[in-house]
Symmetry: D3
């Protein structure tokens, strides 16, 4: 039996992958890939405002709620999900955690990696997650790191769209048509009860990127997700 292909998503907080890469995840899951989301934290301090407004809320309960929400979103999208519980606002990543992430790279051997933008003045956990996702990738490529495990190849890294793209030195270089899985993404959105104000925001993002994808291709594309590349594309086609 052939194993399915793998895709890896490194998400700083437990909901980032839904807003930013939910379309890509659902699309590849639908194609039979194994998509794995690694959440470095639950976003328990910085991205759970609504929960903290409930009386008597505790850190443990916030984490539990966020975990459950993320698990259900992953399920809708068709992805596996893992939590590293490294804390947020600020996220802090020890070398031990870095090596764990490197091990995940070697275990999954993903064809591509999705993560955050390299800068974000509104959120310092996001660029740190990207740094860690990339440093772990390089460690997994090192022959002297756990020499008995085969080294990683060179999977391309795609940076998903931050909340305020122009402030983050991020540029849409790849527009991925997600129309056929849009309903799944929207459904996964709507699980994020704590962030209802973002539903319409990210629906509009998808529509704008869709319109731009149409304009850049002559195809009729309704919903799209935008990504920036870290590495040059190696290809046999100019398209």
């Amino acid at each position: 039996m052939e194993t399915s292909k793998q895709g890896l998503v490194v998400s700083a907080h437990s909901a980032d992958f839904v807003w930013r890469a939910g379309g890509a995840i659902a699309l590849y899951a639908k194609r039979g890939w194994t998509m794995t989301v690694v959440c470095l934290s639950f976003g328990e301090r910085g991205e759970s405002a609504k929960l903290w407004k409930q009386p008597g809320m505790t850190m443990a309960r916030v984490k539990e709620d966020r975990r459950r929400e993320a698990e259900r979103a992953a399920e809708i999208l068709g992805a596996n999900i893992r939590f590293m519980d490294l804390g947020d606002y600020p996220l802090r990543v020890s070398d031990e955690a870095l090596f764990q992430l490197a091990d995940i790279y070697r275990e999954l051997r993903p064809e591509f990696v999705l993560t955050h933008s390299q800068r974000d003045p509104y959120n310092f956990d996001h660029p740190l997650a990207t740094h860690v996702a990339q440093e772990a990738r390089v460690i997994a490529q090192a022959h002297g790191h756990e020499p008995d495990t085969p080294v990683l190849g060179a999977p391309p890294v795609f940076l998903f769209e931050p909340h305020q793209p122009e402030q983050c030195e991020w540029k849409p270089q790849v527009l991925l048509d997600i129309s056929e899985v849009w309903e799944k993404k929207r459904q996964a959105f709507e699980l994020m009860a704590a962030q209802e104000h973002l539903w319409e925001y990210y629906t509009r993002v998808a529509l704008q990127r869709g319109a731009q994808a149409s304009r850049n291709s002559d195809r009729k594309i309704r919903y799209a997700e935008a990504y920036q590349r870290v590495f040059p594309q190696v290809t046999e086609e100019l398209a």
Copy 2:
């Protein structure tokens, strides 16, 4: 009978397309595409040093020599070639010439366009060629330009590698494997008797880009050409 797909190359001088895009041209020609090269000038003043060292040389003879060389190179690569004879050092493009180029876009309806980098402090004809190639593309998209001809779609534009890439604000974003047609490119090179010093230079460029393509993909790629994109890539694949 189905018509073959089209690719368009806009070259400031009569040899640029060989050094910079000969691999892509040969590759697509081999795949059955119709590749058309438009040379805005013959490079008669600025890129024919060796010819001008011959006693009694005249502008007409230089142009004729450069034209013949370019035609033979195009033939080897498998491309059609057209000359607009707009002059070089400096290249000057009237609106009439711009409209001719727009008409070529509408005639060919290319799937992609290859042209120069957007900046080049060593050569002012190159960025002008790029500007014109892009402005003509946009005019060909306008419904009010010759309203009886169908408008152009949105073919992607790829910028080929300038002589000193870092000085030209140009970045390799796409690495195209040209190994299978390398011999043709080299053969077309060697017709450029006037620029023999560049043969080894551009062979090394192809080898370096090949090594980088390998490094960015885990594939074994010997020769590559590098391109920068003007527009975002619209795609259904993250690869």
Copy 3:
């Protein structure tokens, strides 16, 4: 009687000012300013697709339709409008036209100027309009240009949002709350029958910039327009 303050908008085509600066225009008109829009062309070739699909359409009729539409939009927004009819796709600006624009600067003595982004790979008329708007401004500042008319001061220039902002090296540096005049902007939009597909697009743009304005200020802002500055802001307030 005191004269009202003046604002100047330099628009490449006859509808650009509506999509991109309609909110600022309506806002300042409401405050009693005299807002003047200068349309360098009617957008007759490049931005009138729907009209050209009508049988028997002529250039004269397209221009007339576009002019009427623009006049009505200006009226709704509360602005004066002037047309220079310089052609589009490509826009071409003679020195004579440049001096006319410089004269408009001296006549109006605007407190600020609104125009296009400095780059746009999808549209070469837009950056040319910006270049001309800025060069005319500098000429109007020269004591030796028509020495009998008082020279212009140094009105700030704000660049309005292009269609695909990240591709245009444009960054939102100023977010202007236009909520109180949104209905007027939308109404002016809807006159652009030829570009109905853009109504929703630019409504979403206004909502996204509004959400970002809220996020950057703690105020509740529903609709906003974004601008980039050309010159440093001179101020007595850090806000």
Copy 4:
């Protein structure tokens, strides 16, 4: 009794705030605001050359001298001052110190924040101070950080001018007229006996920025301070 408005200055070393933001501090203090300067270190190792040339100098005495000097400068400017004594050359900031700074944000709830440039190849403490000032601001916005204290809003951050601006990827985007408090800034300068060579340097900086402010506004401005914005300006005025 109404509380006065608050402004926060995060200074890597004990004198930075005087050279770089003394005008803004004095201006807002004069307007009745409470201006608070937080010095992350005393600059005891890296910015006290003159003191270290005295025989028998000790770290404790350098710190004490620098503290006194800074306190007197703050007094002249009309500001409160706090010292975190985190060390310099290199400055090192623990998470504990980061949280203290976040608490200061919540305590003061400043309307704006002033800090260093984001890059400085001459001084690694400065960009670290900026990073920390920004990360603490984001933590103070997190509902899950000390959930019983009200969260911070979104005060704008202004980056003051580094010693060699062009080398620091810093650009003057805001020119603040400080003419009316210039004498106070100069007086505060002159307390910095250890850095007398900088008095004239920073007087010239203020004159140059003043001349530029005049040039960009038609107003007569003698002394100015320049700032770069981190976030877009949210405004109701295009000025």
Copy 5:
């Protein structure tokens, strides 16, 4: 008799070379070089405010005054000067003028070229002068341009400091010690009676660049001029 070495300065207006490159000119003149300044225009419209305030002033008299002033300044600095009288605000350069400038390159065969920054939102003549200075240089390198004259080599191009450097995307990469000729530069300044307000401004620029040169070198340098390079430095020394 050995001919002296040549340096070429391309100045948009008749006084630019004094403020921006007067130190370099005087320094090399003192070393026995032949320094030639080419003024593309007299700055008669845009940089002669004081003259235009005199009653009955005419264009011819302004040009004559500006020419005389520039000739005397060149004399003090020890340079030759030529005027092309191409007009200013806006400067316009025909291909004929471009070829004249190319001929000057071939005639002088300069070791280096000094000209303006590549961008300047305050002054559109400056970047045009730079473009022309560079395009003429490339034409002079072309073997087919006037084939009977020996082609030009590859003299480095240095861009002198614009009025508001950070707004012009200009960066000081080379700091030239001009202390030993400062008095000459100041003397040449003071001939510019029409621009007395700039005397102190550019004295401060020289002092700031001097202080920065000291800081970057451990040498004691009082006055400096700053330049940006267009091309990489080719060298045998890492200094």
Copy 6:
């Protein structure tokens, strides 16, 4: 007896200095300078693929092999070499190690420093080495750091060429002619048995930079190394 002049090279791994700066090292050694290479790690995990393919390989043996290789390469080039053994993939630098490096600066008092590019998405140890090399330099300049040792001056820092230059935001600003020591560099290369695939790659880099050096100078230069400057060049010559 006069002491020779000093040059310092900070290399992340034990072979980087050979590929990237071997020419500069050999050139200055030949001129009688004392060149010192500091290797922060042996590259034992990330750059020793070939060794790890040998059965029974251990970390200790890899380090020992890499050390020996580096020592022999340094000997051929004429340099001293020191190892800090800080680990690689990931390199981690404690403050203690940072201070050791600062002490080396004070001990050697180098005229210049060579180190890596500031960014490298393929290798996170390289930019960290650069950061540390620069931070140590600044600490060594601080009067309060070990006040009994004389402080360091301001040696220029040159960044050597990364493997894929355009991906590393690195630009060749200085082209150093290394033709006369090329054989030594090649010889030192060939000691790197573990990285034989890089021999031809870096020979081509040297040839390309040589061709570019020729093109930028009119001199005939066969092999060159390229560097980027961190600080402005302070000079008495425009060349």
